[in-house]
């Protein structure tokens, strides 16, 4: 009799313990989403009312604090660094998946290099860009130096997503193409790459997100300069949107602070759109297979 009540007591204790754990787990799930919602709302609610046409497209002065030149510089950096890094990254992925033999030593070294690049902090990229592109190659503090630095930084993102996408293409497709007499190269370009395209694109989107939010790698390469009106001149030093926000936040004046919120809202809207697009693509790949 006493044994049974003791057992029941023990069981009750265990149940209570489990319930507490379950509550804690749910709490952490809710907390994570809560933090995200808090950050998003905090920036958007204070930022969106401050976005106006003069801020987006006007000339920069102490009144408008226009982000126009930063927006154009950000777009320049995105487009050109992707144009440089995308072919290199995709070709690297093709080499790793389609051409390299298993256990090849070069592959090991390349993989190690890609992993290393992925782990290097932005500020170290910034230092390297400042030493190499700004200094040694003589590009000075310019959008061009920023582009070169960022191109290296996004390589690992593009390589790993392309590699995964290419690996996911069923061997059957390749065999079919080779069996019909197509060469290996033709098979890669006509069969493998088109099939892997959604995965490669999601890598591109992730890279865009990374560039938009980047600041530490660009502050010493493309610089903190702001122009009255934007220029497409790559040798000019221009700040990007993220650095625009950093500079405004650092001023400590109420008007600057409002405009920092506005810049933050623009950044969040872009990042949100980029993430939605990547998720959509990913779910599309999932459905096809």
């Amino acid at each position: 009799m006493t044994e049974r009540t003791q057992d029941e007591k023990y069981l009750k204790k265990r149940k209570a313990h489990s319930f507490a754990l379950k509550a804690l787990i749910w709490l952490c799930g809710i907390l994570t989403v809560g933090i995200l919602v808090y950050i998003l709302l905090f920036i958007l609610v204070r930022g969106i009312p401050n976005i106006n046409m003069k801020f987006l497209f006007g000339q920069y002065d102490s009144e408008t604090l226009s982000a126009f030149s930063s927006i154009i510089a950000t777009i320049e950096i995105i487009v050109i660094s992707l144009a440089a890094a995308l072919p290199i990254g995709v070709f690297c992925a093709i080499y790793l998946t389609e051409y390299a033999r298993r256990g090849n030593k070069a592959v090991k070294v390349i993989r190690l290099a890609v992993d290393t690049l992925a782990g290097i902090p932005s500020i170290v990229y910034g230092l390297f860009g400042m030493i190499f592109f700004v200094g040694i190659l003589g590009f000075r503090t310019s959008v061009l130096s920023g582009i070169c630095t960022v191109s290296i930084m996004i390589l690992p993102v593009i390589i790993s997503s392309s590699e995964e996408a290419i690996k996911a293409v069923p061997d059957m497709y390749r065999e079919g193409s080779l069996g019909l007499g197509a060469t290996r190269l033709r098979t890669v370009f006509k069969i493998v790459l088109p099939t892997a395209m959604p995965g490669i694109l999601s890598g591109v989107i992730l890279a865009i997100g990374r560039i938009v939010g980047e600041s530490a790698a660009l502050i010493f390469t493309s610089g903190t300069n702001v122009l009255k009106a934007p220029t497409l001149d790559l040798t000019a030093s221009q700040r990007t949107l993220a650095i625009h926000m950093y500079m405004l936040a650092g001023e400590g004046l109420p008007h600057h602070r409002d405009m920092a919120f506005a810049t933050g809202a623009i950044l969040i809207i872009i990042v949100f759109a980029v993430n939605m697009a990547a998720t959509k693509l990913a779910s599309k790949i999932g459905r096809e297979q």
């Binding site: 265990r14 994570t32 080499y95 902090p121 400042m130 939010g213 010493f220 926000m245 933050g264």
Partner: protein
């Protein structure tokens, strides 16, 4: 005649194949060359400065005063600072992240998963600058009002970094928890354990190498983070015996970013030297990571 034409086009195709194969290989080598260039130029500029200051005088000296006469370039306080904020980030981020990963892998209903998972991804995509600004506007005043001090502190930096490493910890832990064979859990449940007991005594321990990987990646992110930390940490160089949770702190990364814009000569080189020390930390973490990877793949 016809035959020679065919062999001709075959030759052309072969040539094209071979050329492209070389192009692919060279593209693959770009990453290797980039890593070599980064190491080389960082060391080339950083090592002479460290040598001139003296290694011990640089790494194990807590006095940082480039404007002093004579100038002193000790970064010990920043090394310790980086360790403190990283440890703080781990203390805050890992428990929440791990429990959230358990939530996603084991407890989250499907329709909720469709909201929570993208939310975690979005958290990973938010720029450092936004985290920093959020920290400056919300976390710093919160710390100031609840715990005293001026708010710019190790604690504020740890909270912000703790949030920033959440997505890394969550997504890698989640996938390693999902990779645990369901027979493990079934065995435990069959013996009468509750679901929660099963998760914490059987499933999570089986996923421990993945969880460890996520923690190391989180450490890497926290050590290297710059812009978010610079906005909330206060950036004063503290003597070692004055470092405290509610006092300002300067880390390796923020030392570079706060002074680089006006530094020159040995001062600038010593900041690059700071970058070299940071880089060494990252290399150590990367090595730990690849050791862990090869160990778990052998098992």
């Amino acid at each position: 005649m016809v035959r020679s034409k065919i062999t001709n086009t075959e030759h052309k195709i072969n040539l094209y194949e071979n050329v492209m194969q070389i192009v692919f290989f060279i593209s693959a080598l770009v990453s290797v060359m980039a890593v070599i260039a980064i190491c080389l130029f960082l060391l080339l500029r950083g090592i002479p400065a460290i040598a001139e200051i003296g290694f011990m005088n640089f790494v194990f000296n807590e006095k940082w005063g480039p404007a002093n006469v004579p100038a002193s370039y000790g970064i010990l306080s920043m090394i310790v600072g980086s360790m403190y904020v990283t440890a703080g980030a781990i203390v805050i981020g890992v428990p929440i992240g791990l429990l959230c990963a358990v939530f996603l892998a084991e407890f989250c209903p499907d329709n909720l998963y469709r909201i929570v998972k993208p939310a975690v991804n979005l958290l990973a995509g938010i720029p450092s600058i936004i985290y920093g600004f959020f920290g400056m506007e919300i976390v710093v005043p919160f710390v100031r009002e609840s715990f005293g001090g001026n708010g710019f502190s190790i604690l504020s930096a740890s909270i912000i970094l703790g949030i920033m490493i959440l997505p890394t910890v969550i997504s890698i832990s989640e996938s390693s928890i999902r990779a645990v064979p369901s027979s493990y859990a079934e065995g435990s449940l069959g013996l009468g354990a509750t679901k929660e007991e099963t998760v914490f005594r059987v499933v999570v321990p089986a996923a421990k190498s993945g969880v460890l990987t996520s923690i190391i990646l989180g450490i890497g992110r926290a050590v290297g983070e710059t812009m978010a930390v610079v906005m909330v940490a206060g950036n004063s160089v503290m003597p070692l015996n004055k470092i405290a949770l509610l006092k300002p702190i300067r880390t390796l990364t923020t030392n570079i970013v706060t002074e680089m814009s006006y530094a020159s000569g040995l001062h600038e080189a010593s900041l690059i030297g700071t970058g070299v020390v940071l880089f060494v930390f990252i290399i150590i973490l990367n090595t730990a990571l690849s050791l862990l990877k090869s160990k778990s793949s052998r098992n």
